[in-house]
Amino acid sequence: MQAPRLVRVAAPLIIGALVLSACGSKSESGSGSGNITLTLGVIAPLSGDLSAVGNGIKNGVELAIKQANENKTIKGVTLKLDAEDDTAKAEVGAQVAAKLVADSSVIGVVGPLNSSVAKSTAPVLSQANIASISPSNSNVDLTNRGVLATGGTQTRPYKSYFRVCATDDIQGPFAADYAVKDLGKKTIAIVHDKKAYGQGLAEAFAKQAKADGATVLPTETINPGDKDFSAIVTKLKAAKPDFLFYGGEYPEASLLTKQMKAGGLNIPLMGGDGVDAAEYIKIAGASANGDLATALGAPTDSLASAKQFLTDYKAAAYADPADPYGAASYDAANAIIKALAKAVGDGKKSGQAVRDEVTKEVQDSDFEGVTGKISFDQFGDTNTKILTVYSVKDGKFVAAKSGTFGG
């Protein structure tokens, strides 16, 4: 009786183990002659609330890979996509990053979407010296830009981490300049959600608004997930602000603006790129009119350089829209593809050598992407820091002003 029972338990375990180990050792084939297959990874939220944005990233990369394969950009290499779902959670991000590191065919990664996730994927990917380029991380800590505000010396925390977007320390001040200098706002209320993104954005905004001469009221905070902001609205109303900046994302921002306007506090709400979402307007309805949001980059359809990309994206008939980060992801993927083409040209085709070489070549990137010039400073930040202010008109975000902070 003993033996059969053991077999019955053990058999599925052994089969399971075989299946799992098979997953780990994929795509090593064909390295001997002719065409080899290498992998470009994507880490982005492909399920859950942010899946539309995450799929836009994945699609941008997929398009770049498809074109590289069709045009044979990299001699003797077929590139394939491995898109991993980070579910917008840092701990899941660390797991999928480790999975990509373990796959020796992975030579670069595009993503992740969220700064909080990047904080756990960047150390893992940097350890293996795999170049990762995020289309959207705006948190300052990822390239240690935070020390610039206090006059410290910037050092690079993650040697193979890059991003092609502007950062919160610029997004906040850019928004503040617009509110105070362009709109002439004088008394500004600040609310944020205590998350790294929201708080960083709000603090950078407040600092610049003060420097520009506006009165900034004491900061109020909310909890992510809260729905009832009536207490904060009543409190703020007494201080009579003429403008409110919100550091956080649209689910709370849309309820806040609605409750502000219903509660008789009729002032515009401005947020960062976390507020720049169609859902914001859908939920806030008419209350959203006149509200503002900044976003990284310039609107894709306003760029002459992005016409071809948008046409190709449309032709591919993806279910999710390219905006907000599809074009930037396309550029990020191309930076890695160009780097890989050079590495392969130098004879580096596999193993750690190709990863090291790709990272080095990404650092030296210098080309015109669809969102603008792609080149990086020594800390991994892009040299092209373009931002845009959008305002809500008749139920739509309309670009109001593009530019770069301080320029």
Partner: protein, 307 residues
Amino acid sequence: MQTFLQQLVNGVVLGATYGLVALGYTMVYGIVQLINFAHGEIYMLGGFGALFTYTVLLPGGTPVVLALVLMLLGGMVVSITAALLMERFAYRPLRGAPRLAPLITALGVSIFLQELVRNFYPAKSPRPFPQLVDPSHQFSLGASVEISAPRLLTVVVAVIGMVALSTFVRRSRTGRAMQATAQDPDTARLMGIDTDRIIVTAFVLGAALAAVSGLASGLQFGTVDPRMGFLTGVKAFTAAVLGGIGNISGAVLGGFTLGIVEVMATQYAPDPFSGGAWKDAWAFVVLILVLVFRPSGLLGERVAARA
């Protein structure tokens, strides 16, 4: 003074939602000593049920009052069905098991329901909820103290629900059977009370009130989302403990107390502990103080002598 009164109104509205959901926690706990952590999801399902009724079942142009009544019924049907299923398949098989088992099960049911809605309700999160009661319509309650129509509705339906429940429990035969079962299930059974049916009744009543709250929340905020039950569930559970878990008036009192403490902390707590960031901390300070001096909550649990 106006600010204080306006904040008091804000607190009462917030407390009404907490109180309605807290009733479900307290009734179930009172009868089977189960902290049904999935009760927040019943509230969420009430909101989604109402939304589904409006967007899918109702023809366009249904009169507002009729639409509201039907949405409430739709929300209740969904909530009650979910509550019945969870009682039958998740909790009843564990009756008599060590208390930890149903508690963990409740957490599992909670996650299951959240993910079920998140994956299968076709739209992005959070979902816009029809604004049938115009939120810009304000009722004045004296000098510059105002309450918008959907918030007033929230308080009104909450009070109606609470009064109806309390009357039902005190006056009706089934209600008295519930009290008896809460005091001593074994003796209640010996007296001919079908305790299984009483437990189901507690789940159903709790679900119906949670559905009322879910609909009110949708109307008030204009959104429902699969995770709305979590935070409200935690707060409602806190309210139930604050008022004395197992006690029906306690849940209501606890709900209003919690709501008012939260808004007052936002407005008046001394720097640097003021503002929305600390409102929950203050709410829990009050909870801890109450539990230190009255371990069984404000109105005390009716602790039956239990073996």
